[in-house]
Symmetry: C2
Subunit: 201 residues, 2 copies
């Protein structure tokens, strides 16, 4: 049986940290895993920037709540979940996505979580180290074949591990760097690729 | 981070084989994993009964399509998926649940699949041996804490493996036999238990 594992941001939602950067005007927060592959380094930068600029956890949640799924995402999520089980594997934080999960019709999202200090500022995070790749590996151990979808450097390890790895709306730079993966730029193309993969078993 | 893993039939849907038994009038099909703990034995009996009575795959699908989620199931599924990621682990078959997954608002269901012969009869199945327990184990390896919900003998191994095991609407016999697990009889009770479990971490 196949299972679909996909990244979240830039695939079904806008990049939440870019939204936060735009709303707060803090330029350093524009950086995402598309730009910096080391998530720990990226998170340390973010925590420092937020604290320096006096942006607390509650402000972040209010910004996250304004996010809307990308155009066509909800339809795709319905289609995919009628085809096979699906899990979204993301480096985002549960605190950001749980308030908007109803807008996506409650997909299963496995991600990280934030720590907040007494003054209400983000002070740390619980990261499942290499969580995306590990989750793919263990689903395979449980007897499933995995199709994975991602767009950036932090998805490469899970794409490598999967039975079928697909880039979705990825930069031409990363697509060229990893020619072993398929690359699509719309939900329609992604649907076709998924159907082909399942039927060629 | 917590993840919720639950059984499907008798928790969110009626027992599909009981529905099939009622619709076809084949008494042998009344047996479920509540009665027979050996899934392979149970499936062999089912396949033989269906063939002997001339009930083909398409007839089964038409019966399955009539199934409706249990009262309150859809609301509970929304609530749970806003609390944490959730995966349904079931010994049912994807061919039966995919046509009605939209009625449950597309939860992630990992289950088995059927084989159909040229004459259109069920001839076999692909079973992930001990799939429920293995999946719990591998999710824990991926760094997640697991709450599991089930109602019958085929759930016991996954309840044992979980960080928190819960019987839902289980028979008093099985509840007494496994006093180490919590036991609830309504979605409201289940919600309270889940909240307590998460908050006591």
């Amino acid at each position: 049986m196949y299972i679909l594992c996909s990244d979240l941001e830039s695939v079904f939602l806008p990049e939440l940290w870019v939204e936060i950067a735009n709303e707060t005007g803090i330029k350093d927060l524009q950086l995402t895993t598309r730009d910096v592959s080391d998530v720990n380094l990226l998170m340390q930068k973010r925590i420092t920037s937020l604290r320096e600029n006096g942006v607390d956890f509650e402000t972040l949640i209010q910004i996250a709540k304004k996010s809307e799924p990308l155009e066509g995402a909800v339809d795709f999520l319905r289609w995919a979940r009628e085809m096979m089980p699906m899990i979204i594997l993301s480096d985002t934080f549960w605190e950001f996505v749980s308030p908007i999960i109803s807008k996506m019709e409650y997909p299963t999202i496995i991600c990280n979580s934030l720590q907040v200090d007494k003054e209400g500022f983000v002070s740390g995070y619980n990261l499942r180290e290499d969580g995306k790749r590990k989750t793919i590996e263990v689903l395979q151990q449980a007897g499933l074949k995995v199709i994975t979808v991602g767009d950036s450097y932090n998805d490469v390890k899970m794409l490598e591990k999967a039975d079928k790895g697909v880039f979705f709306n990825a930069s031409s730079e990363i697509v060229q760097q990893f020619p072993e993966f398929s690359s699509v730029n719309s939900y329609e193309e992604l649907k076709l690729l998924i159907k082909d993969t399942i039927n060629s078993k």
